[in-house]
Every structure is written in structure tokens, then in C-alpha cells.
Symmetry: D2
Subunit: 391 residues, 4 copies
């Protein structure tokens, strides 16, 4: 049985002086041969959960992953970080968790990671002739160095969220595959996947994928794959061609949206963990299992998988205030003109129109909707795939 | 087809000067005979919804009641008030509605109604020999007068919540039957019913009833039945016996908990409205329908109905912080020792106990649970019937 | 120099598993004689701060008290508890601390202490002939036992706030003098003082005192003096007369309001600490200092001290929404008809009345006002002494 | 006496259906000659207040401006909009106003204005030979058209904040001078001024100015001057030189920070209004007054005015959680090494260090500090000018 190391990372301090910590679990690659063996080429893995405070189900998934990994044939280093953001997770407003943004500043906790585009071109120029392995090692080190510089050498300090994000990012930069476990508000399962990593999307047990471009907007997935994508493009400009997703550039990061927030379900989490193991096995992180009582291979479930590009993943904002009766089912194409929702406006009953249907002029797949029936004019009602395809 | 009157009541003013209003719908009793007919003895009805901001489903039920009442044989006056508390309903914190209490003061919106026990005994003494109808009329008037005194003649002013509550209570005191439509957080349907009105509980389509005593704690139902119950007891002390729930004392008030908060469903609301019509028909508010295309009678559904006394309706508080996997099903007796919930504590994984079962030493019926998986030590996890019986 | 003991009390656990703790500092009475001396009769003292999260200045006062007590001639046991409620203190909403009530339930943190009136009369009957010292010891023990019963033997658990309050109350019941350090929103200094302890009010450096009756409403001060007051009254009914505030009943509790919330000032806190030492010296807790470099005696400042009864300590609620220009100065009698505040209503500019004066028909002393210029209709604007006198 | 037009703009709708509105006051330029006079060249003015909910003092300043403008010699059109964001202004969390960001999404209300850089270069190319007045008119129209397109022709809808911001921006684009009245948390007065408009900074009665570059980050001031600055630069690239701040490009926008949030003071507001009139008179918006009882000219006060560039306007984040005793005075250079603040950490008293000084290694001018004493690790403590100069 594999064993993991646990250490506890200090990520924040509250007004009372209370220290908030995050547990970090690490499996090391198994030594599978007794003689000095060839370099292990399986990719290292970093998985975290609960960066947004209300999105707690990923913690249960990490629980199940830890249980399952004990009996897996582990080929590389795997780091797992549940409860990644205790500041957010502990912040209640009323019965719910105000977890998407710092309650003091409003800044989204998943928009505070670091990427400085300006370092890319100089690096490529300075390392134009380096061997691929050298490029990998020294660029990885430079990413880590930048983070450490920010964490440790800053007279002006860091925001609460940066301090958390950078400490997580420092670990994530040491991995090749990064999974950031989130949830939607009330939501189907869906996956944010870099465009170049399309092939991987089918190894998760997730029916909806959004392919995202090389634009950094502060999220963990972007913060870990954009530097490499940008570096590959910088080399290309200099005439040296690497393939994104291969060799030194075999970096993949995903935001994995595991259903709805504010709930955990350990049974569902077991299924979700199996889906992640399927992806990890596909990537060679987990070898075939030779123990009789374990599944030999983790394989993805068969399902129809829909995808769209990020530009076609559309938010629909409420045209009025009111109470929403959400009608559209997640994950199924909804014909143009069929209502996604009905808005009840009792103040209009008797002398106006108390019911309004919300329709679109095109076929879409509803992916998630707002967490509450009560909305203001302009509240995000639904997110939908507006121009989708099967993968 | 019956028609209703609509008027708009001003209940509050925000910092920007914005006025918040509540729509009020009133049906008057149909004149069913052309000659000067005998006094209409059917009880008048007051129904409101959404006093707690997140408990919005009752608005949809009032929508469906309004639709259904148009074709009913109405024997008394019925007043319906959706969106009763726009201050609460409009208050978002994150995606959810912070609706149980005034966000400035923390005071529960449903604990601000008025009842002054001190007026009861003097009234009984002064009206010791009055005819029963006189008692009814003059006590009703005195309740309304007290409210108007508070609303209009107070140099120190009223709190935001009192201003709303008193305006609603002024209308409710003019009715004999009061239904205050609420919801739980994540909840089964259940009913708060005065002990003396037990017989009525079986006419609602609600499987769980809590019988409540004559204790005023500030809620709408209590504010409307406690004065009458106290008056009946005051007369009893003076040697004059009335039966609570009969004659002048035929007053019944219910808090009707229609499932979970933060959602509306117009189809479910139609069923909920039918259950309310069943009660109203039992009380003579609605006569048999003679139109061919309408149901002649609204009858309650057959179901097992459980009840307990308020003292046995128990809240269970979390013994630790953590993430809750809620396991127990609502509405079904749960044997002693069987877990209601599991608490996941990832910070304990590896060097402690990551999973804790929450069990009780007695059989209970789970009625509702907290709205979020994330709880602090001491957060209310479940409410259960701990000593229940069938009715 | 006196030394104190420090221990750390665990008061709560957040969703992430983070434990919140409270530091407790204790000085023991100095042994001033070598031979077995006569019983120490100086009263024991309990002082806490920051039960409401935003009311942080008391922490600085406890800092200064700790510094000063090191060089005092201490005659009894003194326990000091800063940061008493880390759950509240750590809860930010926007830039401010949402500290008056549990953000999940709305319940005021200072309304969760315990007092069960029902135990009083039986205790007096059972101990009708006990010696006064016995009464003191055994009633004190019974109060502590009740708290421990609640803390440790409750299958239904405790709320988050009860767990904190009861742990604090357990310590407070072991003292004779209890000071609960609070602040108002934007506020002058004022003192809540039990009616029977009037004489003590002049020993604090606080110009405004509210005399409160023997009514328990859940606060720390009430929870510690009401049991004794009720017991004294119960004995009186049985024909045995004790004087409240003397002998076994020499119990005094104060809520000390030290100005405005959301701020600390260590220099002001030093002055505030001197005022508290003046009261403690008056009570014999601190003997005269014989060290040359220390003040021999802590004496109250000379000042005009106003007081009123709790029933005359009035809140004024805003008659409209708007923006408040607070005009009235704290602590000075304001003549009838002179404006406390002006309300600006820009939405009325040009076609209505943009400025409204808020006046009262009687002379009052303004004590505190709301923390923000923006108010809803019904927000508490001011609290004032409406029928006051000098003490 | 000048008269203004008032109209009411509908900017949002809450869940209850309540409509939120904003009052808009407009003065038109006085006709100063009877014959068809030469084109009025005085710049039009747009002034708004309270886009951030807690920053209410600007409403009082607009009140005083309206009072003063009645007696001014007005040479152009002036539009004044108080209460610009009633959604934010009405949102209380506890006693304070949660006004910097949408409580649902966390997005800063002053980061939702529109600017599309992509339209600039094509416009310059298409209008390369247009007369300057034509450029002004048609570019202004194109800015307004873009906003109207967003407001009226968008099947996906707009966020709550965009709907408000765009309606305000539509008015602001019709003006040449834009003043957006804000406040800091606890703050001195300071001014955000485009670099090219330096000369204007000395006409406000504001001692601290931050010079900002041509970077759009979503704020009102940037949204109104950046398009013109970018256009001027686009023309420059095409070889046609205009001077920013002159002729068609005589556009100036300022964010005017008028002290601290959560308060209004009508007397201070009168002074603030005089300072704004000084700037407007400098710009020719107000002619000399010929009435005997009015000041002939509004002139700026004499004062030392400090400035720095935006890159040198630094935020200092707390290195630890704790309670802050803010020490540094606003507006005065603070020598290197002198403490800005002290952090009290009572949990460390007795076995650690309870007091920490916060110092910087360079001279700075403190401009504002956080609104509360209680901070988390990483909370913004102070904003300071770190490399400043006199203007």
C-alpha cells in the first residue's frame, strides 16, 4: 500500500491572530526497478480543491482519491491539497458560504494567481539553443523563483488572496498536470480544458468541455499552462518549433467543475475520483494494477461529450428583477425559442404581466444556473453552450 | 369568475429614497342570495408569503391560489399578500438571499409582530358580560387599535421590521384564519399548528405537524392566535367558559412551511395551492363548486401524517466544524443509532479521524437540514421530531 | 512585579477545521502576610473584551491593564480575557466587522448567556437557614454546575454562540465583580450599572450611566448579577433579608461602553485602564501602592456624571430613508426642538423637500449614533437619555 | 436665478420588482446675447456622486452645487447626478454599506464602464482628413452609439452594474469635463487626474493629486478620457498632431476623492462645492458674476499641493492579522522608519510580542487607511505617495 506524506501549510492569519492552515498530501513515485532505472518520465500531478469557499465537493473527491491512490501503481509524484482556501471556506453570510471573492475587496479568489508575460520572450532568447530538458527545468525554476520573489521579498506586502494563491501556485508549478477542483452554483459537471489538450477531455467522466485559449485572466489553470504556451509561441517566433502538450511542453491544466456548490456527497465523490484516475492512467501517472482485488485499469465512462469554445460559452443575464422558475434541463440541447426559465413578478399580477418566459433565438446546451430563485435585473441566470459540438 | 381588488402598500424606504411596496389582493365574499340573507358566518382569511427573504416559494403558491380562487365559490373575505417583505427579499449576500433577519440588526423578521399580554385581563374584566359577538368585534378592534397606535403615534419611531410587520398584522387581525407561508432551509413540508386546532392539520397536504402552545415569541401566527387564546383563558379565570377555536374564538393561525428556500416551482405551487383550498373548504371559506368544469370539492390527499409537540421538535447542533454529507431522509422515522450525517474533516486525514458519524440515541423523524455543507461548531444541522405520533 | 498565568481556551471550530482560541490571563491575590492570615475578603474580578466583533478597543484596555497590574498591590484574583469572541472578530463583510450577531443566525452574541430563574426559589427554600458564606459558596457552585451541565452533557449540542458564552460565563461566575468591555457604534463612553450598585458608577471615568433593573435579557452583566439579585429577593419572600451588593451578595457587573467601535487607540486605552483601576481600588481589589514610583492611589476623575434609568434610555428610529448629517454632540443636554440630525434626500431635490430636521419634543442627552450616514426607514439613528439626572 | 431640469432615470430592478431610479439635474447654458451669437465654446460638464454605495458625501456636495449654481453665470450645459448607484447605496451588511462591489459577483461598481480600444485606429483612418470639429462631433457620437448598442441590442443581457454604468456613461460622453465624486475609506482629500491635465489639478481645493496614464481599467474617469487620448495617439501615428486637452481633445475627467466614506457633512460639502466651482470657472464653465451679492470669482485656496504618479501610489498590506492602531497623519510626509501603525496582538501577550510597528524604508505621504482596526494578514492598511513632489 502506498503511503503519503502530510504537511501543513500556513496560508493566513485572521484579526484575532488565528492561523489558517492547509493540509498537503504527497505521494512519491514508486521505485519499480531495483537497478538504477531510466529516468521516470511520467508526469507529476497537482490537484487542489475548495479555492472558492462554497465549492466543497472537491474535498470529498480528494478524500476518495487518497483512499484509492493507496492501492494504485503510482509512477510519478502526486500532490493533493483539499481545503485550499480556509479564509473563503470559513466565511458565512447567513447560512451560505460567501466563497467566490474576498469579502473585504470583492476580488475573485481564483483571479489572483501570477503570470508575467514580459518574462517569456527574454527567456526564449536567452535559451534559444538549450536542450529541451534544460528548457523545461530552467523555465520551471524561473516560474517558481518569480513566485518566491513575490512571497518573500516585497516591502509592500501581498493581499490575503495572493498569499494563498502564490503558495498553491508554487506547488502547482512543480507538476506537469494540474487539476483545480471547483463546482458551479447549481450545475452540471463541466471541464475547462486548454485548446491544445483536447484529446485529454474524453478521459474525464465529464460530459461538457469548454476549450480555452492562451489568455491569462488570473485563474490557477491559466497560471500554470499559459506560461508554457506563451513560451512555445515565443520559440516559434524565433524559429524553433515545439509542440504544445508534448515533451518539455507536456503541461496540462484543467478546472474541473464537479456539479453544484454548498454540498458534498461521498458516494458521488467516489465516482468523481474514478474519473480523475481514468485521466491519470491515460497520462501514465498510474500504471496498470497487478493486484487481483483492484481494477486493472481506470477507464472513462462512455457518454456523449459536448464541447464549445470559451467565446461560445455564454452567460445570460436577467432582463428584469423577479423570482425564477428554472425550467431547462442541464446537458441537453434546448431548441431555439423554448424557455430556459420563467420569471414570476407578483407585483404585476392583476395589472400587468406576472409571468415572463426567457427564451433564446438559437439552440443551446444549459450548463449551470444561478443558485437562487431571486434575481435582480442583470443577475446571471444561466450559462450555456451556444455553439457546441460533440467530441 | 371572481374578481379581486389590488392595492399597493408602502412598507419601507431605503437609503436612496427608494420606496418598497407590497401588493395586496382581496376577494370579497360572494352574495349568494338576493334577499337580505343571514349573516355570513364563513371565516375571513389572510394569507401572506415571503416574510423571510429567501422563502420565495409561497409567492408562487399565492399566484396559483389567485388563479384558482377566480373560479371558486367564495363565502368570505380573502386577502392574499405575496412579497410581504421586499427589504428582506431584495437583500443578497453573494448569490443567496440574506432573508431571515434584518441585515443591520440581526433581528429575525418573523419575531417582530406585536402582542401585549397586559391588555388581556383588563379587557376580559371590562367585557365580562358582553355578548360573544360583541366580544369578538370589540377585541378585534382593540387589537387593530393597538397596532395603529404603534404605527401612527410614536415619537421614537419604529424599526424597519416593525413597520412592515405591523402593517401586515393590521390586515391579519381582520381575518379569522391566518396562513403565513414560509419554507425551511432544505426541508420537507411541515406545519406549525396551535394545539387547539389539531383537527385542521389533516386538511392540509402536509405530512408533518408541530403543535404549538400559547407562547408568544413574536411570530405572525402567534401574534394572531395568542391574544384570543389568552383572552379565552382570562375569561375562564373569571368563570366564563368559551371553547378555543369555536364561536368568537374560531381563530386559527398556521405557519405553513412549504419545502426548501431559494427556489420556486410553479407546478409544485399548484399542488400546494390545492392543499390550502382543501383546508379553506373544510372551514367553509369555499363552498361546493357548481360549475361543471371545476372540481366540486377540494379534498386533502391521503397520507401518513406525523406530529409532535413543539418541545419535542429538536434542533441538533454540530459538535464540530467541518463539511456535512447529509444522509438522513426527510419524513421517515430514523432508528436510534443510525447516522443523520457524516462530517468530513480533511485536516484530520492521515493523522486523525477524517469521518465522523452524527447519530442520536433515539428514533427521530428528520424534518429539515442546514442549507450548506460547511458548518461551524455549533451550527444547526438538523431539526427533527424526537417524540412523534401519527394524526 | 506581579506575574500572571496565561492559558488558552478553545472556543470554536470553523468549517475548515480551524480551531479558534481565546487567551486568558490570571493574577492571583498576593500573600501579604506570612502567618496564616485572615480570610481574604477582597472581591475577585473578571474582565473581558470584544464579545462583539467590531468592539475592539477593550482589547487595548486589557493590554494596558495587564501592563499596569504588574505593579499594583493586588488583593484578590483577577482574570482578564481579551479577544473573547474570535468568531465574531474575524468576520468581515466588506471592510467592516460584522460583529454584533452570529452571521448565520442573526442572534446577538451578547444575548446568549444563561440564567434559569426557575432554580432560584428552590435554592432559597433548601438553604433558608444556611450561613451567609455557605449561601455564597453553594449558590456560586450551583451557577457553575448549571453551566458545566450545559457545556458537557447535551446530546443536542450548543449553538456556536452558547459554546463561547458559557465558557466565558463559567469564569465570570467565579468572580464577584464582572466588567464586560464593549463600545457603541459611534459613541460617547457610557456604563450599564445595576440599580443597586449606583454608588460604584462614580468611580469609573465615564460620564454617562444607565441604571438597569433585575431583568435578564441574555447579556453577560445580567447573567452574573441577576441570579444573585433574584436570590436575594427570593430570600426576602421567605422572610430572610440580605442587602443586595453587600456580604454574600456583594456582586457587581457592568457593561462598560468605551466609545466607538472599529478602532483601537493605545493612548486612550491607558486612560480607560486607569479609570477601571480607580473602581477596582475603591472595591479593595487593589491596595494602596507603597512603591515610590507608582501612584499611591487610583482616583476617579472629576466630571459631571449623568445617569438615567434603562426605561428612559431611548432609541430613535429614522422616520424615512436617506443620508444623515449627524448634528447633536454627545454628552451635552440638547434642548427640545433642536435638531439631532438632518436627513438629506437628493431624490426629492427640485420637486420635494431635500432636507428634513430630526427633532424631539423634550430635552435629551445624545449618547451614541448609528455608524453610517445611510439609513433605511426604521434604522436606529440615536440613543439618548430622555429623563436624566446628575449623580 | 438659473433653473434646472430634473428627470428620473430607471437603472435597476430588484427581486421584489422594486424599480431603482436616479435623479438627473441639468442646467443649460445661459443665452447671453439676443442676436444669433457665436458658437458657445465653454465645455459641457458632467458630475456624478455615490457610484460606490458607502461614498455618500458627494451627494451633499451636489446638493450644495445645485444651490450655488442657481446664482452662477453658467456658460455651458451642466449635468449633475447624485445617488448614481442606488443598488450599492441601499446594500447594508450590518451597520455599514457594502458599496464597493456588486454583492452577488464581487465586481467593483467602478470597473464596469466601457471602452473598446479596437475602434480607435479605424476611426482615425476613416476620419484622417476631417475637420477638428467634425472629429469631435462624430467621435463623441460613436462613443454614445457604442453604449446604446450595448444597452439596447444584446440578447444575452447586461450585468446589473453594466446597466447602471452604461446609462451614466451615455450622459458623461456628452460632456467635456467629467467629475466622478468618490471618497476613500478613512481618507484625506485626493484627486485622480490624467497626466495631460496637470494644470487643472491646482484649481481644486485638494492637496493630493495622483497623475494617471492612458490605461483603461474600467473606471468612469478612464472611460471618458482614454478614448480621446487613444484617438489623439492614433492620429499621431497617422501623422496628424493634436494636443491632448486642447481643441476637440479638450476632455478632462477626474475622480475626486472627498475624504472618508459613510458620512455626510453639509457644511464641509459647501466648501467642497466651492472648490469645484473654482475649477469650473477656470475652465470657463462659469463666467464672472455680476451680481453684487455673489462672489465675483471662485478661486482656489492656497495650499501646498503634493502629487505623485499612479505607479508610485502604493498600497501597503498588513504583514499579519491583528488590531491596528493607525498612527500616521494624512497628508504630511512621514520620514523613513517612523511607524505608520502599530499592530496589537493580544494572543501573543505574555509569551510573544503583542505590539508590532509597521514602518517603511522610505519617506511617504499617507493618504488613506483601512476603515477598521481589525485586519487579516494581507488586508490593505494604508495607501501612500511613495515618490512625491509639489505642484
Amino acid at each position: 500500500m502506498n503511503t503519503f506524506e502530510k504537511h501543513v501549510m500556513h496560508v493566513g492569519e485572521m484579526a484575532s491572530g488565528a492561523k489558517l492552515t492547509v493540509p498537503v498530501y504527497s505521494f512519491e513515485a514508486q521505485q519499480t526497478c531495483s537497478h538504477p532505472c531510466t529516468e521516470n518520465t511520467a508526469p507529476n500531478v497537482y490537484i487542489q480543491a475548495n479555492m472558492h469557499g462554497a465549492e466543497v465537493h472537491g474535498n470529498a473527491v480528494i478524500f476518495q482519491l487518497l483512499e484509492l491512490l493507496k492501492n494504485c501503481n503510482i509512477q510519478s509524484n502526486i500532490t493533493l491539497v483539499p481545503n485550499a482556501n480556509p479564509v473563503a471556506c470559513n466565511h458565512k453570510n447567513g447560512e451560505y458560504t460567501l466563497g467566490r471573492f474576498d469579502p473585504i475587496t470583492g476580488v475573485n479568489w481564483n483571479r489572483m494567481y501570477h503570470f508575467d508575460e514580459a518574462v517569456i520572450a527574454p527567456f526564449a532568447q536567452q535559451n534559444i539553443d538549450a536542450r529541451e530538458e534544460e528548457i523545461k527545468a530552467s523555465f520551471e525554476q524561473s516560474l517558481i523563483d518569480q513566485i518566491e520573489q513575490k512571497l518573500d521579498h516585497n516591502i509592500w506586502g501581498l493581499t490575503t488572496g495572493q498569499r494563498i494563491a502564490y503558495q498553491l501556485q508554487r506547488m502547482a508549478h512543480q507538476a506537469d498536470l494540474v487539476l483545480d477542483l471547483h463546482t458551479g452554483p447549481i450545475s452540471s459537471k463541466h471541464l475547462y480544458c486548454p485548446e491544445y489538450a483536447k484529446a485529454s477531455a474524453s478521459y474525464f467522466d465529464i460530459p461538457h468541455t469548454i476549450f480555452i485559449p492562451n489568455d491569462f485572466d488570473g485563474a490557477m489553470d491559466e497560471a500554470t499552462f499559459c506560461p508554457w504556451w506563451s513560451l512555445q509561441q515565443a520559440y516559434k517566433k524565433l524559429g524553433r518549433n515545439f509542440v504544445m502538450g508534448k515533451g518539455a511542453f507536456a503541461k496540462e491544466s484543467f478546472t474541473v467543475e464537479l456539479g453544484s456548490q454548498e454540498q458534498i456527497d461521498l458516494a458521488v465523490a467516489h465516482q468523481d475520483a474514478l474519473g480523475i484516475l481514468s485521466y491519470l492512467q491515460y497520462k501514465g501517472v498510474i500504471g496498470n494494477n497487478e493486484q487481483a482485488d483492484q481494477p486493472q485499469k481506470y477507464l472513462p465512462q462512455e457518454m456523449t461529450r459536448y464541447a464549445c469554445y470559451l467565446k461560445d460559452y455564454k452567460a445570460l443575464y436577467s432582463p428584469m428583477g423577479g423570482m425564477i422558475d428554472y425550467l431547462a434541463e442541464f446537458g441537453k440541447p434546448l431548441p431555439a425559442g423554448k424557455p430556459l426559465a420563467r420569471i414570476l413578478r407578483m407585483d404585476n399580477y392583476g395589472d400587468g404581466d406576472p409571468l415572463h418566459n426567457i427564451c433564446l433565438d438559437r439552440e443551446v446546451i444549459p450548463i449551470l444556473h444561478f443558485a437562487s430563485a431571486s434575481v435582480n435585473q442583470g443577475t446571471e441566470l444561466y450559462k450555456v453552450f451556444s455553439d457546441f459540438f460533440e467530441i
